[in-house]
Symmetry: C2
Subunit: 298 residues, 2 copies
């Protein structure tokens, strides 16, 4: 393709810039970034793209626009690009939940413009263009959202694009996507935040320095609970119906564990602990995690 | 010291054997292990200790006995060693919780024998002597339990021993210990088990393959949820009062998050998400985790 525009150049946006440039996937890469701190980092690290101060500077002749901002910024950005974008341009994004934000897109995007949603399962607890890398998407899943009205030609184009970025593609609709990721990603993040919050509360109640002894388990959760707060607020709000269901089942199961513990119900608890163990083996077989004890940390 | 007896030669026991031998901390290391599979691994890896088939073979002249078995095995082992152990021998253990198991020790151990409890904060999701390593305890905390009646000479001996093993020592009573670790270790493990259990339940309800997409968060929890089920059942039962309090606060906080999400209460959720983030920085400063994004996995 000729021109691509990356809107939002943080961890994921900057990784796309690096990859697109390295693999020569576009003749020109435009970057739109509103954070002054990110702009100076982009310059410092000499990212291979042209920074535009206004979206007007590039939207005339674009093949692809990729939204890499938190989802709460979509609306105001859509209102800006509506003035310039033409039907020749395909739009996509990297948002981690789809149902609510799709309603925003449908409501505000100029009619006739195609936006097919993407979700690359890649990221980290750190943010900002200094942490991006060209192989961030390598061998990672990228979900493409196909609804009844999705244009198949555009979907094929996007499929090819993400494959060149290094991803493995899976296609599903928004509803299925949001259900799956409410369990495998959104609930785990919420639980990690909640566990760290609870530890902080206990530290105040007990007046002990707890964090000092976090190597026994808490430290793992603290990594996830260090993730970007704006991005995660947007995901929690966007996928609230599925996340609420997930919270309810989680609390129901936790109460069952509590009962087992209080009644010292050996058979019931052992059955649960043995069953959960199997998932780790499955995850490693599916190459979704590193095959080393303790993530190979020590 | 002259002789040491390691009872239970899994991950921690075998790491102690390796370290004691490497640093020449004892003239002779006896190993008592009831699992045939572990015994053949000990032979295969040529661990530097003498395997005894019966505790009678070595208990006469021991300086130190270290219990490295799950806590549910203490009672039957105590009844065996009572026949041979003398007041010259100090006993310790590596159990992760202390209050309930201390009652067992007090009730069944022959009067006049000293047992000072230890808890090295080291371990992994894998079990067995094949995973042990001589530096497992290096720069890790080891909690020593000091109660009113603790013999200070023995405590000093144990302190020196664990320092030679590589640990940093902290001394506290059982009550404080069990409160701290109910938050930093026991609750995180229970939550990880519960999250994986909930994901498995959802997989059945939705009839989707969820685990395939676990790289977005779930995989981290699956590591902890792969920990040894006997060891963790024992800890949950042993420290049930503190763990129950921890579960209750956790559920209260989770319901508050749920309310924020459902009401889209921006200020409240952002405040929580920013606050929890600080713990990660603290943990890394305290050298309780690796200072690399994503545990340096990719």
């Amino acid at each position: 393709m000729k021109n691509v525009l990356i809107i939002g150049c943080g961890l994921l946006g900057s990784s796309l810039v690096r990859r697109i440039s390295k693999k020569k996937l576009a003749k020109k890469i435009f970057i739109y970034e509103k954070s002054k701190s990110n702009i100076s980092k982009i310059k410092k690290f000499k990212l291979p793209g042209t920074i535009v101060k206004s979206l007007k500077e590039c939207t005339g002749d674009l093949d692809l626009i990729i939204f890499c901002t938190p989802m709460s910024e979509y609306k105001s950005l859509i209102l800006k690009i509506n003035n310039f974008v033409t039907y020749k341009t395909l739009i996509t994004d990297i948002g981690s939940s789809k149902i609510e934000s799709s309603k925003i897109i449908k409501k505000f995007l100029k009619k006739g413009i195609h936006w097919i949603r993407s979700h690359p399962i890649a990221g980290s607890e750190v943010s900002g263009p200094e942490h991006g890398k060209d192989n961030l998407f390598e061998d990672k899943w990228c979900v493409l959202i196909k609804e009844k009205k999705t244009n198949l030609k555009h979907l094929k184009f996007l499929n090819t694009f993400w494959r060149k970025v290094g991803s493995k593609i899976v296609i599903m609709n928004s509803e299925k996507h949001d259900k799956i990721f409410s369990i495998t990603s959104h609930l785990p993040h919420l639980i990690a935040y909640n566990l760290v919050k609870s530890a902080q509360d206990f530290e105040k109640i007990l007046k002990f320095n707890l964090i000092k002894y976090s190597a026994g388990g808490l430290r793992d959760f603290s990594r996830i609970a260090a993730s970007n707060e704006i991005m995660w607020r947007d995901i929690f709000f966007d996928n609230k119906i599925n996340i609420t269901k997930a919270i309810d089942l989680f609390i129901k199961n936790l109460k069952s564990f509590k009962k087992d513990i209080n009644k010292k119900n050996n058979d019931s608890i052992i059955k649960k602990l043995i069953q959960t163990k199997k998932v780790r083996t499955k995850i490693i077989k599916l190459k979704q995690d590193i095959d080393k004890p303790d993530f190979g940390r020590n």
